[in-house]
Amino acid sequence: MSNYTADKIPKKKLLSLQLDLSKFERATDAEKEQHETMRESTTFFRDGMHKLFKNPLAVISMIVLVLIIATIIVAPMIVPYKYSEMITIDGRRDKTAKNLAPLTYSVNEQKAIAAGQEIFPHIFGTDELCRDYFIRVVYGARVSLSVGFFASLIVLIIGLLYGSIAGYAGGRTDLIMMRIVDVIYSLPDVLMVILLSVVLDQVLGTSLQGTALAALGSNMISLFIVFGLLYWVGMARLVRGQILQIKTNEYVLAARAMGAKPSRIIRKHILPNCMSVIIISTALQIPSAIFTESFLSFIGLGVQAPMPSLGSLANAARQALQAYPYKLFFPAIGICLIVLSFNLLGDGLRDAFDPKLRR
């Protein structure tokens, strides 16, 4: 290449180093392989779960939620009262059991205890209709969680379907579908719920009685319907956005080059990759649904009495706020705990699983 010559190494200096010559033999391939170790294999999922459990807030929220769910399931088995049951002593209504403070007994109940009967304590006291408040709160939590869960499920299914079709089809289909979404987005949701519940009440009226849905009441049905009609748009937009983004990845192009059909591409390549974002969004949707339900119940448009929900309990407690503050306290704490835990869990999930945030 050139006639460049380097100066020679000062030999004397190196020769004077005391070195063990045996070390200068060639290393075998086996030794070289051991030199490098490959990190142990983890999937994306395990990696994310690992991260999730390192997040203290997320772990606390998970514990809280597990406790709440456990309570909801177990409590009705332990506590002998039903949510609509008015306290009775020996078969007769106990009128003195009205508005008891937590962990106190009514006059009649005390007499009965003195006489040897065993009466389960009223952990949260009773309400103005002599019903055990604890079990009502537990049931209320059950209703709120179920509503939150099912409403989110509706949102997920409709939003996912709609968004994936719009996202994958692209072009005019996408354009039209998204404009419909824009229109729906601008409709006022609370107003719609009110209107719908009034309309449904009149339309369905007595036809629901006797069916399973009767217990829920027409208000709840209208709530689910409104969720199905209005609230999926956020999810649809999210899914569409994800799909548009994933479509640009070269592995989708590679699948097309292989001859894969669109259904296979959506199923195997696109959906699995947006799953984490969708799950996170759903996790954050649940508290929003619960909150909406609570709010509607609070203004009187929620579940039909006697079925409690945390919101309706809070509403009922509002009137007696000065005299019996604890009645508002318990359902309010319930709502706060559930909503906060889901939010923190959702945040934790996002930090752990969102590929964009990886370091």
Partner: protein, 335 residues
């Protein structure tokens, strides 16, 4: 330390403390930079070259931290400067240009705005003087129609033009040292040639020192006076351009040179370096390159090679050099 030595880096160690563990990005590198010289730092991804630059400028982001070492600029340890002092140091004594001109210019401010900001921060000129200086800089870097350009936004300029603006911003305060972190990697070959010519021109005109960081051996061969080859956060070799290319003394450097396709040698098969780049989370004992090295010896797996001075222009850290001397001595004894 001689009069002309501007920057002295001594035993720099930088690590990133991530969730997965400590990523040892830089593991004890030392070098000097003389006034008016161009130093090239060449290495592949994971070699620690960019991290070194970021450590010098102290712009490492969390979770990165300098864990050991000194950076002496004109005798003072930059790593010990207060934040206050660093503000006046960065951009005016040492400045940096980055790889991707699209993301290193703020898209919501005009070019003129950003250029003037660079000037305003470090000098005491009034607005009129600032604008004049900005125009001066744009002309210096070869941007045509400078008045028009001042009002334009980054997206309106081409890649080469944006990189010129970056250079103008970096040189506005006449720094002593310019660090260029892969400045031409994102540019087309013909534009790259323009920018490299520009940098060489400016260096002659303004007399500053340049640290050129790149993975492209061709770019290094062209403009650098002295070259450092890095692997796994350590210096493999350090020497003049001629020494490194015509007398490589480290197996990694030799491997790199053998593995690049050359003009006209189409029918020679390339000799790649086996294996994959080292995992910085699990740095092995001894020489980090040993498991990929054809000539690896037992000592390479256990002891890290010391830096051996090959001649007054060349230092290499490879046990093969020691072995060669012993072999030659043995040959000599036999005869």
């Amino acid at each position: 330390m001689s009069e002309t030595t501007l920057l002295q880096v001594k035993n720099l160690h930088t690590s990133f403390f991530t969730d997965a563990g400590e990523v040892q990005a830089v593991n004890g590198i030392s070098f000097n930079l003389d006034r008016g010289k161009v130093l090239g730092i060449v290495g592949e991804s994971g070699s620690g070259k960019s991290v070194t630059a970021y450590s010098l400028m102290r712009i490492l982001t969390d979770p990165g931290r300098v864990t050991e070492g000194e950076v002496l600029f004109k005798g003072e340890d930059v790593l010990k400067y207060s934040e206050q002092k660093m503000h006046s140091f960065r951009g005016s004594r040492i400045s940096m240009i980055f790889q991707d001109p699209m993301t290193s210019l703020n898209p919501v401010y005009t070019v003129g705005n950003q250029l003037r900001e660079a000037i305003k921060i470090h000098t005491n000129r009034n607005p009129k003087q600032v604008r004049e200086r900005a125009l001066e800089m744009l002309q210096l870097v070869g941007v045509n129609e400078p008045e028009k350009r001042l009002k334009q936004y980054p997206y309106e300029l081409s890649g080469g033009m944006r990189q010129r603006v970056m250079i103008a911003m970096a040189l506005a305060c006449e720094p002593d040292v310019l660090i260029a972190d892969e400045p031409t990697t994102a540019l087309d070959v013909t534009i790259q040639a323009q920018i490299l010519e520009l940098m060489q021109d400016l260096q002659k005109k303004m007399g500053m020192s340049i640290i050129m960081i790149t993975h492209d051996l061709g770019v290094i061969a062209d403009i650098c006076d002295e070259i450092i080859v890095m692997y796994a956060g350590r210096v493999c070799e350090r020497g003049t351009a001629d020494e490194i290319f015509y007398n490589p003394c480290h197996e990694y450097t030799k491997g790199l040179i053998r593995s690049i396709p050359k003009f006209g040698a189409r029918h020679e098969k390339l000799v790649p370096i086996a294996g994959s780049p080292v995992d910085l989370l699990n740095l092995p004992a001894g020489c980090a390159f040993a498991s990929r090295c054809d000539c690896a010896m037992k000592i390479c797996l256990t002891e890290h090679p010391e830096e051996i001075r090959m001649n007054d222009k060349h230092i290499a850290a490879c046990w093969m050099n020691v072995k060669k001397v012993y072999d030659e001595a043995k040959e000599g004894e036999k005869q």
